[in-house]
Amino acid sequence: MTAINVATESPALQNEQMRPGQTSPRLALPTVLFLVATIAVPIAITFVYSFLSTADIGTGVKWDFTLSAYRHLFVQDKLDGTTAFDTRYVKVIWNSFVYSAITTVVTLILSLPIAMWIATRAESARNFLVAAVTLPFWISILIRTYGLRQLIDDNGPVGGVFHRLGLDYHIIYTPTATVIGLIYVFLPFMILPIYASAERFDFSLAEAGYDLGAKRMTVFRKIVLPSIRPGIISGIALVFIPALGSFLQSDMLGGGKANMIANVIANQFGQSRNWPFGCALSVLLIGLTVLFVQIIRGISARSGDQVNLV
């Protein structure tokens, strides 16, 4: 159908004024349809389901409008018959926030020197090093996380070191393990945008700074940092926001305890069979994500940087 329409209407299109390099907006249609089907429709379903009731039998929802899923986020009808403010989900959201923040800070600290170092190599070396940073993407995230689990397991190399030192210290199945997993997975997402900014930086400007008597830190703070700031802001967005909704690290490395919001959501669609509540939690997570995107946009707009966010 679409193809026929384009064909019959193409003479009309030719009459329109088109700038060089411009083409019919209809060519965007497949992409738009794809995005609507894979993003807009699922979000709409999530939103609608969050206002419905759980099915009496089986999984799924019953078409009875209710706000109970949202009430359930903050109010708990306790087993002793009393009603109380429910801190459980607020705590889980706070956990997710803290883990993501730590992940962002640590990946930023690790990425700055790495990205700067790569950016200052010769071009052939740079290409090789960038390829090396993207190398982990060649392997499934599940397998990499599993590998990390073996590594930090009590019986693995890391646990062995603690054992030999006589320390009764365990990393695996603790929040620390979850955060290590997040840092490991998200590090390339911080390095690459910072590198992209740093690569465009004209290092003769830094030399000029030195020539005019500035110390290393001053050069970094006043000349280098402002130039690579768009990369840093992109990196923060690319790490913090997906980390907030992470599931795998907490599930596999954190001991399967519901420590992050995504784990609680997954549980609602599995064991708990409470889709409306899972949807309400998802709506909350989407809301938080949009909020952080807006905050980062605001920061980048105020600093006048060109940040590639979306």
């Binding site: 089986g58 999984t59 087993l79 002793d80 018959g81 459980r88 199945y173 305890k257 599995g270 064991q271």
Partner: protein
């Protein structure tokens, strides 16, 4: 949509025609229902089973004997399976729900009533597994493996000697303890530990759940999961683990000091089943597959692989000696009374289970 369904219908017709022809070729006709029961076919049978719960060698043997290729896919919980079947046509011919889930699937009209008891090998179903609550007279389901959920303990850990009950398990506070990530198993064990009788595990009395929740408040295992248990006990990372008896058997094969504890308040007896979902594209192949698996020799081979007892009479003759002599697999006479069917609760009771379980997992 319409064309897709027609396409599928014609495929089924084609397979049925082939099967009819092959049935005509062979003269044997011992089928109880209309016409001979098919014994060989063409094409595929799509099986959806729990992870690591079917012997790959047996699937090859099935293909060699019947000419039907097996396509295997796996799931990790009854709820995952239910969600898939409820979402609509899945392309699966045989799926493997547990007891209570069969009951719910029958109620939701998700299963085909194929009169499994009337299959040629239906006569092999153990008498005590024939009139089960989830399928009286075995109209929908064939027995697969069955077992109990208790505690596996590596006796090199001195705490093992101190655990004889669920109450001990929840209160001992030992290191290297793992719990299953299973709402029904965890909460029902806590209910048993706080004095709820087996027949009363689906109570809607909130005070009972409050007591269970208070008990769980102090229970902080190292890990809550259902899939890495065997490897963790073998590696020595975990010593005391809530476990299915077949897992305990497989742990013992590698770590002889592992013992399976039957908690004295009682434990859940579960039974998995082979069923055919509505809309199965290869119905006859599914029947052939289920009938083949009810052969004592084939059932025994699956037991030898999974470490669980099965529901087929006469299979013991083909079972491995270490399986038959393991008190974890074959319940000792004095423990039989402890095992009661996994509770199949009302929505109201299930919601209370969920509430206790969620409070526990988010409070870790």
């Amino acid at each position: 949509m319409g064309s897709k369904m027609r396409h599928r219908a014609s495929a089924i017709a084609a397979i049925a025609a082939v099967l009819a022809l092959s049935a005509c070729g062979s003269s044997s006709s011992d089928g109880a229902s209309s016409g001979a029961f098919p014994t060989a076919g063409t094409g595929e049978v799509h099986v959806y089973n729990w992870t690591d719960y079917i012997d790959p060698e047996q699937l090859k043997a099935f293909t060699a004997e019947t000419g039907i290729k097996v396509v295997l896919d796996t799931f990790d919980s009854n709820e995952t399976l239910l969600a898939k079947l409820q979402a609509g046509a899945t392309g699966y011919d045989v799926v493997v729900p547990s007891d209570y889930m069969v009951a719910q699937m029958v109620e939701l009209n998700l299963l085909q009533k194929v009169d499994v008891a009337g299959f040629p090998n239906g006569k092999n179903i153990k008498p005590n597994l024939m009139d089960v609550y989830w399928d009286k007279g075995r109209q929908y389901s064939a027995p697969w493996m069955y077992g109990t959920t208790g505690i596996a303990c590596n006796t090199v850990d001195p705490n093992c000697a101190k655990i004889t009950s669920w109450k001990d398990w929840f209160t001992i506070g030992a290191p290297k303890m793992d719990s299953l990530k299973d709402q029904v198993e965890v909460v029902s064990a806590a209910l048993r530990a706080t004095g709820v009788a087996a027949a009363d595990l689906c109570t809607t009395d909130k005070s009972k759940y409050l007591a269970a929740q208070n008990l769980l408040d102090g229970f902080k295992p190292a890990v809550i999961d259902s899939d890495s248990g065997i490897e963790r006990v073998i590696a020595g990372t975990s010593n005391i683990r809530q476990a299915w008896n077949g897992s305990a058997h497989r742990m013992k094969a590698k770590v002889p000091t592992v013992e399976y504890i039957y908690p004295k308040e009682g434990l859940n007896l579960w039974a998995d089943n082979l069923v055919i979902p509505v809309g199965a594209p290869n119905l006859d192949n599914a029947k052939i597959f289920i009938n083949w698996m009810m052969d004592p020799k084939n059932a025994a081979a699956e037991s030898n692989f999974t470490g669980y007892d099965n529901g087929i009479t006469g299979s013991d003759a083909f079972m491995a000696a270490d399986l038959k002599s393991d008190p974890a697999v074959i319940m000792p006479a004095d423990k039989v009374a402890l095992a009661t069917p996994t509770p199949n609760c009302s929505k109201e009771a299930r919601d209370l289970y969920t509430q206790v379980f969620t409070t526990w997992t988010t409070g870790q």
